[in-house]
Point group: C2
Chain length 221, copies 2
């Protein structure tokens, strides 16, 4: 049995959930209040964060190391392209979203509005929220530019780059922080990815005291 | 010709330099004052940071995507182990150093003491420096614990995990911020990796107005 220690609105956990689901691997989800730094959890992962995946007798941390491992053990359907150039571009975009987008947008909007409240760390810092709301526009434009030339973010095939971006966007959409009218291309891309069976479990997530907007789980949003 | 746009005291650039050198790929180094956000440079890399590698007609960003590409195109000598479990552990540790260690230590010591001065951003924040000096002890202990059980950080073979860690430590050693007496195992590991031919170019780096300690380039430190 595969077991994933996670929190529902974590883009890193959602990326792993999407990868596992796309490969039709069944997983038991265990919610982990990792910020309480429970001793058992720290033994599982000295980095003290989620996701942590138990699979094939291993206890694994770091979402990218996990996704690469899952890809190697279960190559079908592939989430990395067949060429070195395609794999490079996929990994570049995974890093773009998990590093740059995460710092400039996710941490400024999601962490301020949701994580702070859940962890009891006070109210959102409004200048962070403002900076995040400004930065997401640049990213939507960049994605629109990529999707003008390609069917998916890294090329003509859906890859881990799309799941990585969709993991961030789905968390932000849960709190109504994405302006889907800014880019037709990005809206179409998100509608396509949202309608995949792998996305179902994410759309069913409900976080106490945070009600998603009606369009969150709507495939024809 | 391979060309790397870099800054000398960047752990991410040093990781790429070590990988290329270990695989005996000749590279032309071009120093890039990326924080000045020169238009030409931003066209090469919209993320606006280094390293940027020009190779095989591609212009590549993101150090991990670059290192995975170099590994795929030039598999000998291997910097990723032969087993999926070994590759997982290597990638986990690469992320450990480039993410956790970078946030807790490198950004608190190197960026405060060197980058701020070079970029004209003022003087070091002493509470950051103090936090970094405290956190590096925890990391040295964790590495000592790993190296008690293994020849190299990810197992019995030298991997990209060792180069990633050594890239961070060599930058910190340049500014005398590593207490090599804390762990015999870590000191021995660093002496081993420092004596590899791939390390030579790093030990020859000199940054104006920052003089490294005499032991920096000494193989019997």
């Amino acid at each position: 049995m595969i077991r994933l220690f996670h929190v529902p609105l974590s883009p890193f956990c959602r990326k792993v959930r999407l990868s596992l689901a796309e490969k039709r691997l069944e997983v038991e989800l265990v919610e982990e209040r990792y910020w309480e730094q429970d001793g058992d959890f720290l033994r599982r992962n000295p980095a003290g964060k989620v996701p942590v995946l138990k699979m094939n007798g291993m206890t694994m941390a770091e979402s990218n190391a996990i996704c690469e491992y899952v890809e190697e053990m279960h190559p079908e359907p592939p989430l990395l392209p067949a060429t070195p150039e395609g794999r490079y571009e996929t990994r570049r975009l995974v890093a773009w979203f998990d590093d740059k987008f995460h710092t400039e947008v996710t941490s400024k909007l999601l962490y301020e509005r949701v994580n702070k409240k859940v962890m009891g760390l006070g109210t959102p810092n409004s200048s962070n929220v403002k900076a995040g709301a400004k930065a997401i526009k640049f990213h939507l434009d960049y994605m629109g530019w990529l999707l003008d030339q390609r069917r998916w973010l890294a090329g003509d095939q859906m890859t881990l780059a799309d799941f990585t971006a969709a993991a961030h966007f789905s968390c932000l959409d849960y709190i109504s922080d994405v302006d889907w009218n800014r880019s037709e291309q990005v809206k179409d891309w998100y509608a396509k990815i949202k309608s995949r069976p792998a996305f179902r479990s994410l759309l069913a997530d409900h976080i106490p005291s945070f009600v998603p907007p009606p369009h969150y789980a709507d495939l024809d949003f």
